[in-house]
């Protein structure tokens, strides 16, 4: 027992004794005891120990690769030979000498601009119906949310391929009504439409966000409106929509960023080609083709950076434009 306390005592006081032995003399400032100094040092270092995995990840597999890919976008690089500097050639070629690239930009823009607003409209509509205090809300919410979970899987893309094929489920249903179907995924006019439907089908996740936001709108606003004799439509226009607008913006930005990067459904439904006639050639699919089947890594890097800048621009525009329609409570 005494030995134990002795040893602890010796341990905590030994650095000070060592100082004295070295003959530094008493410090004019009041010195903090060593244990406290150590604790302060530990407290300064501790945050970085927590952050260490993220810091390594950020520098080694995010920031570093980002800079490398920016450099590669100005080179000709096939992974077999060292990269060769070509200046802005890749960027120029993309916009002036690669009609397939412009097709992929067009397809992706249509996909984003059509599917995201439709998806959000469905999400909002269903959320409004569900928010009316119906029983079984959580059950409905789960059912409608389910497609969001599985929508990005290969399994669902496979199902889509069958459903919208020439003898698929959709045509069987149409046949029942006496309508002559066609191969929806084999027709360049409709193939993209099937993928848009797939994205709209996954309206569950923005819906859940809308539902959470609808719950936040204080009831007294509606009560006050009712007292003032404002109709339900009026209350929707002047209370619900403005109060919901920040979440609409949030969903819009989030879903657009996601839609720009969609890959799996287009790859599986078109068998990796982006066909027919480039009609499902999503941007990321073309990037994959160039980079990982054509081994034009420099060219693909330039594509990736344009995608990044495009997404950043669209997001910035959304924020800027939001001042005209988003209501902030302040």
């Amino acid at each position: 027992m005494t030995a134990l306390t002795d040893s602890i005592d010796a341990e905590t006081s030994s650095p000070e004794r060592a100082d004295e032995r070295r003959g530094r003399g008493p410090d004019p400032r009041p010195r903090k005891p060593a244990s406290l100094r150590r604790a302060i040092l530990a407290e300064k270092i501790a945050p970085y120990t927590f952050l260490a995995p993220w810091l390594i990840g950020f520098f080694v597999i995010t920031l570093g690769p980002m800079l490398v890919s920016l450099y590669l976008s100005f080179t000709d690089f096939s992974m077999l030979a060292p990269p060769e500097w070509v200046g802005v050639d890749n960027y120029v070629k993309l916009f002036t000498n690669d009609p397939k690239y412009l097709d992929s930009v067009r397809v992706t823009l249509i996909y984003v601009l059509v599917s995201v607003p439709l998806q959000l409209a469905f999400a909002l509509l269903v959320a409004l119906v569900l928010n009316r205090g119906l029983r079984g809300l959580s059950l409905y919410r789960s059912i409608y949310y389910l497609p969001s979970l599985i929508g990005a899987s290969v399994a669902i893309a496979v199902l889509w391929r069958q459903m919208f094929g020439s003898n698929g489920l959709i045509n069987q249903v149409l046949d029942f009504f006496g309508i002559q179907g066609m191969s929806w995924i084999g027709n360049p006019e409709t193939a993209l439409g099937t993928l848009i439907i797939l994205n709209v089908w996954t309206f569950g996740s923005p819906m859940v966000i809308f539902l959470a936001a609808l719950r936040q709108i204080p009831e007294y606003l509606y009560e006050a409106a009712a007292v003032d004799g404002i109709s339900r439509v009026g209350a929707f226009r002047h209370i619900t929509l403005p109060m919901l607008s920040p979440v609409v913006l949030f969903n819009l930005i989030l879903q657009m960023i996601g839609a720009f990067q969609a890959f799996t459904p287009a790859f599986v439904v078109s068998g990796g080609t982006g066909g027919p006639v480039n009609s499902t050639l999503f941007y990321t699919l073309y990037l994959y083709q160039r980079g990982f089947t054509g081994f034009q890594m420099g060219y693909a890097s330039a594509m990736a950076w344009i995608l990044f800048l495009g997404i950043a621009l669209v997001t910035a525009f959304n924020f800027w434009f939001s001042k005209y329609w988003v209501h902030y409570d302040d």
């Binding site: 119906l134 979970l149 290969v154 669902i156 950076w305």
Partner: protein, 294 residues
Amino acid sequence: MTTETFDQKTVAMSVGRKKSRVRDGFSHALLIAFGFVMLYPVIWMLGASFKDSAHIFSEVSPIPNPVILDNYARGWEGAGVGFGTFILNSTIVAGLSVIGNLVACVLAGYAFARLRFRGRKLFFACMMATLMLPHHVLLIPQYMLFAGLDWVNTFLPLVVPKFLAVDAFFVFLMVQFLRGIPTELDQAAKIDGAGPWKTFWFVILPLLKPALATTAIFTFIWTWNDFLSPMIYLQDPRSYTVPLGLNSFLDASGDSAWGAMFAMAVISLGPLFGFFLVGQKYLTTGIATTGLKG
């Protein structure tokens, strides 16, 4: 006079209640019908996985008659490599990813939300910026890095980044969640002499359980569905994950083996449904706090 108005009121109220009950019934009918139409393709696929080809392409009804189990047997055999291998691979990748994200993201989230240190604001801004960064920008240099380490055809390129908290979404989720936990708890622990690690381990971590559950479930679902990264790094069919296995099966059998295809698709969705049923609460709260996409 007063009784009359009272009566009028009660009459009006009961009429209103009746009206709203009718309207509720109408809403329910609409919601059920809509949900049914939405889920019909999935239900139909489940049924189709028990049908032979002729019935798959001629029946709108999901009910298989006769019930055929052959699809599952054929699909499980796969094309060359068995489907069991793919399931095992996916389970390893998803399991390790879950552990990695849990450990790394909770540590980073705690540091950002609770600790004071130099560069905190800058690093936090960097972390938030990576939320917007399309993964495709990093694809090629990361491939060079991992290929240089000889990690191609191993699970390391898919798993190691998770242990380095590159999924900023979950760091953000932790930060958001921690903001809702009163800092008095930390201070009380500090007064009692606990350092940051002790505070983290004994005070914060137990309170973070819901956020941890959300992270685990979402990580599992995302890595289970992930297609692009495994396609880049896993070229040997024996190392394929489930999505790659499904896709290769589709390539190999073309449009001829739909029954087996559907059977394996159903199996591949099984774990997702399982996690969905177990973790609904965490999924919806997770989405509501951060806006995660499922």
